[in-house]
């Protein structure tokens, strides 16, 4: 019996081990293997397409972490009460992005496609630098990873490079990228939105200015070297003639630049793209409900139409009515703030007169309301905003150039002002900034350049970085965050039910206080963010924590 059984057993064994052996080899039918990919330039392009998902997305409430904006409540980063976190998506996402770019670069090195894939190599270099930028602006120096790592790689335990080493590495990548990438005007219509030589230079200028001023004000490195690079990169963009400010909407151009009308305009170097039926966002509706509102710090920064700060200008109308402080001011103010009573595009396409709400769930905590980034499409009112977030725009390049020129020489000529800051002022019909005007009125040129930058780029996510690199954060950020003047003004008449001291807090002059100075701090350690704790733990002692954390 056993013999028969054995015989059958073998029969089955043979059946399974030979007849079915092949049947156990199942290969994927809906995916490509790495070995059969990377054969054509098209493959490299497909891989490069994926990098774009790493661009900064909206909604961005970054400026709530600074002194110029306030959200639904106190912001722990802004007021300095934040603690180190276990992990950080900034850290993880950046290194994920770096791996993808390194992978493409490695495959390009192994490839025989030569210059046919130069452009995609350029895109990879650009995005590698972009990812490092996201790291550096938060953490300072980080480990430099320039190859594809495996779980056994020793480089997983790379120590942190210094901030300037990382920046040097990025500047190299960006220089290479700029040489390989096309100019804006060389993009075909299907390629609009891809990164270009101009974008690579813009990032280079941004990064170099960051490092240059950081080195200068923190006394940490070769400031002149980086400032020169910033000047040089920005000059190249200007000289290319590829870009210009958006002026299609005349006096309202500044407002329309940030929404659908400004998409793909001459001012845009690189944007995170949105498109109806593809990817949309809901930023407009969220902003309606005061997720981010301006503060008094920002409001007071806008010059009067005579080009003077409000404390010096005779044309400043004071705070007595809802609209008085908006009168005779830099027109960018009423395109960044909602002037009470002015109409904004609302549900159903209505132009809705809008006043601040101090009560209710979406009360503005400062009394101000944001207008910048409010879309004017019906789709946006139905949760489908489709305008792009223009992270790299020509306006920033001009501001970098002006600041870098000043930092380089300790002064800036009227000629240089005319081709930088005054281009921006001209768009909104503000009087030019000149050395004479500064001197006559007892102003400070550097302050005016910085004012221009803050006003022009408000809510675009630059403010906290700026305060940190200028090393002014320690004086600016611990101050109270204020709002409109409430006591004794039209506000109090209009909102008689609001009880000062209980419903809202005000300072001695009757200005609303959204967060008092007592609740805010900025310690030396806050100049850099803490390295995520878990990463420190996993690093086998190679990753050092930033000082003070």
């Amino acid at each position: 019996m056993i013999r028969i059984l054995n015989k059958y057993k073998y029969f089955f064994l043979i059946l399974v081990l030979t007849g079915c052996k092949k049947s156990l080899d199942q290969l994927p039918e809906d995916q490509i293997s790495d070995a059969s990919f990377w054969k054509t330039p098209g493959h490299f392009q497909l891989a490069a397409n994926d990098f774009y998902y790493g661009l900064k997305q909206v909604p961005v409430y970054t400026d709530n972490n600074s002194d110029i904006a306030f959200g639904a409540g106190a912001n722990s980063v802004s007021d300095g009460s934040y603690l180190a976190t276990a992990n950080s998506t900034v850290w993880d996402n950046a290194y994920n992005g770096i791996r993808s770019t390194n992978y493409l670069l490695k495959k390009a090195q192994e490839s025989t496609l030569g210059t046919d894939i130069d452009r995609w190599v350029g895109e990879a270099l650009f995005f590698r630098a972009y990812n490092y930028w996201n790291l550096v602006e938060s953490f300072g120096g980080v480990p430099k990873i320039d190859k594809v790592l495996d779980v056994t790689s020793r480089e997983l335990y790379t120590a942190r490079s210094s901030q300037s080493e990382i920046i040097d590495f990025m500047l190299d990548d960006l220089e290479n990228a700029a040489n390989k990438l096309p100019k804006q005007s060389e993009l075909t219509s299907d390629e609009i939105g891809r990164t270009t030589q101009g974008a690579a230079l813009a990032l280079k200028a941004r990064v170099a200015l960051f490092m240059g001023t950081w080195a200068k004000y923190h006394n940490d490195g070769d400031a002149a070297k980086y400032i020169n690079i910033a000047v040089d990169a920005a000059e190249k963009i200007v000289a290319s003639g590829e870009y210009a400010l958006y002026t299609d909407k005349g006096a309202d151009s500044y407002k329309y630049l940030f929404i659908l009308e400004g998409d793909d305009s001459k001012e845009v170097l690189l944007a995170r793209r949105y498109y109806i039926n593809r990817i949309t966002h809901n930023w407009t509706r969220e902003l309606w409900f005061n997720y981010m509102v301006p503060t008094k710090n920002l409001a007071d920064m806008y010059l009067a139409t005579d080009g003077l700060p409000i404390d010096k200008s005779p044309s400043f109308q004071g705070y007595n009515t809802l609209t008085s402080e908006f009168q005779n001011r830099d027109p960018r103010m009423s395109m960044t703030f909602i002037v009470p009573g002015s109409s904004i595009f609302f549900e159903g396409g209505l132009m809705q007169p809008t006043y601040p709400g101090f009560s209710g769930s979406n009360a503005t905590h400062t009394g101000y309301m944001i207008r910048k980034f409010l879309d004017e499409t019906l789709e946006a009112t139905q949760f489908q905003g489709e305008y792009d977030f223009k992270e790299f725009r020509y306006g920033e390049v001009l501001l970098i150039l002006a600041e870098a020129l000043y930092e380089k020489n300790g002064q800036i000529s009227d000629l240089d002002l005319d081709r930088t800051i005054n281009v921006l002022r001209n768009r909104v019909s503000m009087p030019a900034l000149t050395n004479a005007q500064v001197t006559t009125n007892g102003l400070n040129m550097l302050d005016e350049i910085r004012r221009e930058r803050t006003v022009e780029l408000a809510f675009e996510g630059f403010r906290r970085d700026d305060l940190r690199r200028w090393k002014t954060a320690e004086t600016v950020l611990p101050q109270a965050l204020g709002g409109v003047k409430f006591v004794g003004t039209e506000y109090q008449q209009r909102y008689p039910d609001l009880n000062v001291g209980t419903d809202i807090q005000v300072d001695n002059n009757g200005f609303i206080i959204a967060e008092s100075a007592g609740s805010r701090q900025f310690l030396p350690k806050h100049y850099l963010d803490p390295i995520p704790l878990q990463q420190v733990q996993l690093s086998k002692g190679t990753l050092t924590q930033n000082e003070g954390w």
């Binding site: 156990l24 290969l27 998902y53 409540g73 390194n102 939105g193 009360a363 733990q537």
Partner: protein, 1043 residues
Amino acid sequence: MKRTIYVLTCLVFLLYGNSSLAQITAIKGTVTDEKIPLQGVTVTVKGAASGASTDVHGNFSIQAAPGSTLVFSSVGYVTQEVKITKVTTLQIVMITEAKALEDVVVIGYGTKKKENLTGAVSTVTSEVLKSRPITNTLEGLQGEVPGLTIQRSTGQPGGQSGVPQYDLNVRGASSTNGGNSPLVLIDGVAGSLDLLNPDDIESVSVLKDASASIYGARAAGGVMLVTTKKGKKGTPTITYNGNAAVTKMSGMMKSPNNYQFALMENEANIHNGAAPMYTPELLQKVKNNDPTPIPHPLYGGWMLFFTNTNWIDAVIGNGFQQKHNINVSGGGNNSNYYLSGGYSKLDGVIKYAPDNNERYNLRLNYDYDFSKRIRLETKIAFEDQKRTDVGGISSSGIITEAIFGMPNHPVYTQSGQKFFAQGGWGNAVAQAKEGAKATFNTRNINTNFRLIVDIVKGLKLNLQTGINQSSQDNTDIAKAVPLYKWDESSIQYYTIANPDQASLTRTSYNSIYRNFTGYLEYGKKFNRHDFNIMAGASYEYNNYDWFNTSRDHFSTDEVWSINLGGTQNMTSNEETKHWAIGSLFSRLSYIYNNRYMLEANLRYDGSSRFQSDSRWGLFPGVSVGWRLSQEDFIKDLGFFNDLKLRASYGQTGNEEGIGYYDYLQLINIGSRSTPYPFGAGSQTQSASLAGMVSTSRTWETLINKNIGIDATVLSGRLSFSFDYFIKRNKNMLIPVSYPSLLGATPPYSNSGELKTWGFETALGWNDKVGNVKYSVKLILSDAQNKVVNYGGEDTYVLGLNTLKYWWDPHVRQGDPVDTYYGYGFDGVIRTQKELDDYKQLGGVPSDIKIGDAKFKDLNGDGKISLYGDKAGEKGDAVNLGSLTPRYNFGININVAYKNFDLGIFAQGVAKRIIFREGDYAMPWSAWWRQPPLFYYGKTWNEDRPNAPYPELSFGSINNYNYQPSTLQKINAAYIRLKNLQLGYTFSAGVMKKLSISKARIYFSGQDIWELHGVKGGWDPEASTSGFNYPFQRFYSAGIDVTF
């Protein structure tokens, strides 16, 4: 029990065997079951037309000649044949089918007498599914099988797309990577219980320990063997079962009414430093239900209403279910058949909405003997399910909208003609009423052929082919439903979809599973030895593909067809996956002297998921048993009817954590949900690496150890069994944490370990008091687990650390899976001093004030932080317990009195904690979100200084106050009356005139009562966030008729 029949029959022969009066005469007798006389038993003379049936006392009288054979049959009992040798009075004892089945248990590739079982195998019969208003087998098995835990996820008719309706688990966690559900085999072929007609099921066996090892690499979660009914030879018996039920939802999150809402909103505003919107005057209007709205004081273009809408009441009503089954069973000399047809329809509880499920089942189980040695068993089943739902949003979306719906928003506009909305809220009633109907059709054809050849005496060859074809065809339509402004001057906006984006999506799935199995069995008994050996091989192959296509920009919403859509946003996608597994298996059983039992299993599996050189795995299992009750020293006690000790050790495999093609580096193309819109919104694809490859991975191996005891005492009235088990996953696949510098998710490696342990026990009692016959059965089981090794993973997140959240999976070494971490809630800050003291701590929000929450600085480091500062140091967030339910129990009580029968079945969990999550965890999780009524009047406020919960606020402090902490912990133990059944069986006399052999009517209620501690309206089995389709109570009446 078979022996008893044999003995009885022999007795009859012995006593009356001498006489031989060859004349037709009246044969009289009494038919009983094991206890009481049976009424309505059909008595026929074999081969003759005449027949009789027993009266209320079980007596019968029939004309028959000595030498002829009497056939006794009754539904639910094994048919008996008795040859008449002498005119006399017969005593016939009928054996219930269930009882008969209990004697033989289906195990892997064969059956075994229950008394000879050495593994932990539980069995239930069709009895537990009988006459219950259920259409899903798993619903009926919940709480019935010790060690089998069934959790429901949704009460939606036919389930929800993409969400498994039931979570099945045997003996707790097997792995952190899935594979925790048992392998389900229907008549020996892997399949699904989802659409199987519960009425076609004869028995279910659950293999829980080494006995599952015979199924090797796919048996990590245990094995469920389902056997369908067979035809009974003889004249056709026709049985009809009908049941109709009214359903009501059992519980949902309760929302505040408009006045409560207004008060809560005011408080939240005041605490957020904003003035309350509802002035006393406005509050009075709310109180008065003032029908006249005013322009909204805050939002231009909106209206503020003072009337109250209860959105849950507005969209939820009663459901209705009907269910019909008819089957015919019979057969001739060399064949038997069972043919059944089933129909069920459940209309859901959402008013107006087409949330229905309709199902048709057809089955033919036909056995044919080609010769005495060759037998063919065929089983063909067709399952057809038509589920309908509201397109583009689904019923669960409507539930969500209803819970979100503001109590101060009316359903209709001013004139009552049109649907109202403002502010971005949808309108649940409009969605239910005007949304398009989406259809989800599933069709399964399951064929199963088995040839059994008796080669020589004792040697049997089994050849089996099972092919299951499953297809799904879904049409989902997102229709633009217009909502109007209060004054109807224009459309406010559309819900479900905007007109241009109204879309049609067609999806089809196709899966084919093929199973080829062959095995030889050889059994021999000699002297006191009883050998049985089995060996065989199988090959299984599964191919799954999925395709969908969609368009929008439809020119009409009257007719929906893909062709009518615009072409600008067409999409189409597909996915194909396949796997194969080849196996060799063998079992040896040996019994010595009916007392000592040994069983050994071996399985050798090769899987397509690995590279060919690391594809094969060996899974052994061994078990022993000792029937103490056969030993003289136990027999001498005269106490035990049966007593058996069992022990087993076995290995099973798990490959669930491994992708289909993980050993290859693949490139994903089109894996981004939306193409990056270069140019004019181009649909450009992108490519990215699909994870990191590892070629060194292999199966997870589980080691199952079990000891058990079975005992029956007091003349069989009391039965008891107990099993204790330890299950270890020795080489569990775990993600090893590397620094994020790696830039990718590292591949899992076989270096983890999970230990699960627990017990199962069952206690049964049956007896009779006077005319009342009753039985009670209790089952109780428990399983706990601990992640012994997770690569040293010491981190955790606040809240639930689970692997079920694929987007943020967490497990911590040393804890059980699904462990909840939270801070220690230290009460509400009630005084300035408390506030000042608390503010000394770090990590406290700067805007904290009286009325906010305090948490404990458990590690005393002067700050409230998730972790300690250094690795290994404790933080302030601590393990608050595991969500795994403990002590699952079931209680079955059956009582019969005369023609009445009563069945009570309760199921529950004795220890279970859950935590309020999502919107339940926090009042005003967003300003546009309703707070649960649960918090009304329970939060700190100036006039409620002693309230248990922190203040209401719209500020970010809300997230601080209501973050995961002990405050959110809920005792969610429950006991639930799953089924209450009261039946009446008609007397045979009446029925006989109608050619009905048996008729019973009954009331059967499902989930009709429960006891639990979950506040706020929730069903204790529902999700903790409150958005699931509600479970329902079924109140049903039915009839069972046999012709």
